[in-house]
């Protein structure tokens, strides 16, 4: 199988979908699912294949290189699978909206461009796919119109700023080394001065940081995630922002090489520490802000930023365990965050667009499968043992502690406890508590929504009990980067500094759970009662009014909210305003009168002559 064929299917499928939609909706739906399924299958076939294909385009002598190895395979498969599930999820979700052809083709285009990014072998093709992805994402974010357009604008402005900065970096690299192919670059950069490497890192880091929503470049993310259609939110949060992660890994491990990276700077001021600290800040602040959110998707959006912080922390810290943890967390986060967005989307679908956490409640009785999905999702998010999030976080913490960085570990752990607070709030306010009367007749989510939810929740448990499978892949990626591999087995990690064995824990939980359940079962049977037979100090339970969800963590929020104003966002907005004002000022120069322009030109020539006479610059 050829890589170019894969890309051709991806891009061609996107295009054909649009035109198929003009013929029949049904055929288009089936075709979209088929294309994404094909992508997932084909991508999976590249396992353990390592190839590199060079196509000459004849354009400015830049080679167009596609390559696949375990690293890009890992990302490509994740992208294709999550893309498949969100396409399936879209089937019902998007049906009643307008402009569905456009939606599907854009969705496939985003997936195709992401696959293109991870398969590209040089920075030019990387940049081209990157721009396709940015713009198609922009179109999808603003799909819902209304507030979505401003969210999309925010996204695209930041994204374009990022890619321009990246372009500067790419041009600079090309000027220095005359090549943009990864494999050639990596050897050359070894000998560069550390100042130049730092310059490159900063340039690229801004671009990838915008995409990965690293604090303080995160401001586009909350509105974009909450305003985008839910299936796309799960793509956005699950994989799209992880393209930024891909870029960072590419930068640190492929282009620059890990040993060069680790030796940049000394002690607490080394680049690795600074990026780790930025990662920790990215964990902490968004976690607390997520606590204050009342919109389910916005809460998840802030949570996405916080989880991205773990990934950055793991990758930037640079030990083989932490990098494994970071990459594993990327994988896990793709699963549980897209699951959670799908859960919210299913609720949103059934309640006609309600995602305000203060007005839902009690839906567990009506949508049990969705609830279980949500429950497993938040367990993964928190990192409860036996879910996949646990192992990745454990790896990061362990290496932080044993390498004497307890404060980083502390901040990361504290973020987890914040995660418990907001994720319980999410699940409680949507599914638990009293069911409002107006939702008495609600139906459970349709099959096309339940299927991805069920599969993804099973995946969370599966990879939680058998973390060895993805860790094995990650191990081979790491050895490809020239790092020391971990000692892993199928059930966990066995090293002399600390072992983890999920099988033991799983067996213990299972056996003890069954024992307790038996005790529960043997003792007197309990009668099942409804939600109105409830303690209300002796009075009857008032309908609709007996539910605690507004300001769930009021005492804490009162304490912390004064410190958590989103000042970064305010900063950007004031920056935007001042740029607009400057623009207005500049526009005043262009009066439209030819006479004025003549004066400008004469003044400019006079200035040039004046400079020439005085300093003789040219």
């Amino acid at each position: 199988m050829n890589l170019i064929i894969l890309l051709a299917i991806a891009f061609g499928g996107a295009l054909i979908t649009y035109f198929l939609g003009k013929i029949s909706q049904k055929i288009r739906d089936i075709f979209a699912v088929f294309i994404s399924l094909a992508l997932a299958v084909i991508a999976a076939c590249f396992y353990n294949v390592s190839s590199r294909e060079i196509y000459y385009t004849g354009f400015l002598d830049f080679p167009f290189v596609l390559r696949v190895n375990t690293f890009s395979w890992f990302f490509a498969v994740t992208i294709a699978v999550i893309g498949l599930f969100s396409i399936i999820f879209s089937l019902n979700y998007i049906r009643k909206r307008g402009n569905t052809d456009f939606y599907y083709s854009m969705m496939l285009l985003v997936i195709a461009s992401m696959i293109g990014i991870v398969l590209s072998g040089d920075l030019v093709s990387f940049y081209i796919f990157w721009e396709i992805m940015s713009w198609s994402t922009f179109l999808l974010i603003s799909y819902n119109r209304g507030p979505a357009i401003s969210a999309g604008m925010k996204y695209i402005i930041m994204s374009v700023t990022g890619s321009v900065v990246m372009l500067v970096g790419i041009v600079s690299l090309y000027l220095h080394y005359d090549t943009l192919v990864y494999t050639e670059l990596s050897g050359l950069l070894n000998n560069a001065s550390s100042g130049y490497i730092l310059f490159i890192i900063i340039l690229f880091f801004i671009a990838f940081g915008v995409k990965n929503a690293i604090w303080p470049l995160h401001v586009w993310l909350p509105p974009a995630h909450s305003e985008a259609p839910s299936p796309f939110s799960s793509v956005l949060s699950g994989i799209l922002i992880k393209i930024g992660t891909y870029g960072i890994i590419l930068l640190i491990f492929v282009i620059i090489q890990i040993n060069v990276f680790l030796n940049l700077g000394e002690g607490i001021l080394s680049v690795r520490y600074i990026i780790s600290i930025i990662g920790v800040i990215t964990i902490l602040i968004p976690t607390f802000i997520a606590l204050l959110q009342d919109d389910a998707k916005r809460l998840l959006a802030w949570s996405t930023i916080a989880q991205a912080g773990y990934i950055i922390l793991g990758i930037a810290y640079g030990t083989s365990e932490s990098v494994a943890g970071g990459m594993f967390h990327f994988f896990n986060h793709a699963i549980f965050k897209s699951l959670l967005f799908m859960v919210v989307g299913a609720v949103e679908y059934r309640t006609n667009g309600v995602r305000d956490l203060n007005s839902l409640g009690g839906l567990i009785k009506k949508m049990p499968v969705t609830f279980i999905g949500g429950l497993i999702g938040i367990c993964g998010l928190i990192g409860v043992p036996l879910t996949n999030g646990f192992v990745s976080k454990w790896l990061i913490y362990k290496t932080l502690i044993l390498n004497n960085s307890p404060f980083l570990a502390f901040a990361a752990l504290l973020g987890t406890w914040g995660t418990i607070l907001y994720s319980y709030k999410l699940i409680h306010n949507m599914f638990l508590g009293q069911l409002p009367e107006k939702y008495e007749k609600i139906k459970k989510a349709p099959f096309s929504m339940q299927l991805p939810i069920v599969i993804l929740s099973l995946a969370i448990i599966f990879f939680g009990i058998i973390p060895g499978l993805p860790l094995h892949v990650i191990n081979s990626i790491e050895s490809g980067f020239g790092m020391e591999p971990l000692t892993i087995n199928i059930w966990g990690i066995a090293s002399d500094t600390g072992t983890i064995n999920m099988l033991n824990i799983f067996t213990a939980v299972l056996v003890i759970g069954i024992m307790v359940w038996l005790i529960f079962k043997v003792s007197k049977k309990s009668t099942v009662i409804g939600q109105y037979d409830n303690y209300a100090a002796g009075t009857t339970v008032p309908k609709d009014k007996y539910n605690y969800s507004v300001n769930f963590y009021d005492p804490l929020c009162r304490m912390i909210s004064p410190y958590l104003k989103d000042f970064i966002d305010d900063f950007y907005m004031s920056l935007a305003r001042s740029i607009k004002n400057t623009g207005n000022g500049i526009r005043r120069i262009y009066t439209g009168d030819v006479g004025h322009y003549v004066i400008y030109i004469i003044l400019f020539l006079a200035l040039l002559i004046f400079i020439q006479i005085n300093w003789e610059l040219w």
């Binding site: 109105y532 037979d533 303690y535 100090a537 002796g538 009075t539 009857t540």
Partner: protein, 184 residues
């Protein structure tokens, strides 16, 4: 007091448990509540008999109806009683729930509490002393032992009649019947 006899515990743990762990629902239905704090605090200390007040009906198995019951109080009493898990025991405290007592001609107190919920025992007097609570508790032990504290069974059997009486006083009750009565 046969609390320390292991043999009895092995023979009928349920009964013994109910005897020595009477959790009283804390509900100030009337002026009798004034003698409950002395009963549970330092002077008399009901906890040595395993009697402690609890906050919600779900955790309680003893309902001390302390004093007269006005029409407005009857509703929460019925609600709380029905929410208690079985086996549950009720004790009327003071003369007023027995036959109206001092308020026999008041238009707003119900006179005979046992018309509305079953009562397992009475403590007469106005006000009964805290010692009387202990006498009642020890007497209740005997009743439990002999299987005569069966108010909750009666309530289950004759729920239809009780509900009818309750609705005569309180009008239509908001909650659905606790047991589906077969004898309707």
């Amino acid at each position: 007091m046969d609390r320390n006899k292991l043999g009895k515990w092995l023979q009928s743990p349920g009964k013994m448990g109910q005897k020595y762990s009477l959790h009283a629902l804390y509900f100030c239905t009337g002026c009798g509540i004034i003698e409950i704090p002395p009963t549970i605090t330092a002077r008399w200390d009901a906890e040595r008999f395993g009697v402690i007040p609890v906050a919600t009906p779900r955790q309680a198995n003893l309902f001390l109806i302390t004093g007269y019951v006005s029409v407005k109080t009857l509703r929460p009493i019925i609600r709380s009683y029905e929410q208690m898990p079985e086996p549950k025991f009720t004790v009327g405290f003071g003369s007023c729930p027995i036959n109206g007592g001092m308020y026999w001609d008041s238009y707003n107190t119900i006179k005979h509490l046992d018309k509305y919920i079953p009562i397992d025992g009475w403590i007469a007097g106005c006000m009964p002393r805290p010692e009387a609570v202990f006498v009642a508790v020890t007497h209740l032990w005997t009743l439990i032992d002999k299987g005569m504290a069966d108010g909750y069974k009666k309530y289950r059997e004759d729920y239809h009649y009780y509900r009818e009486n309750q609705e005569k006083i309180l009008g239509k009750l908001e909650w659905p019947p606790l047991f589906s009565s077969k004898k309707m």
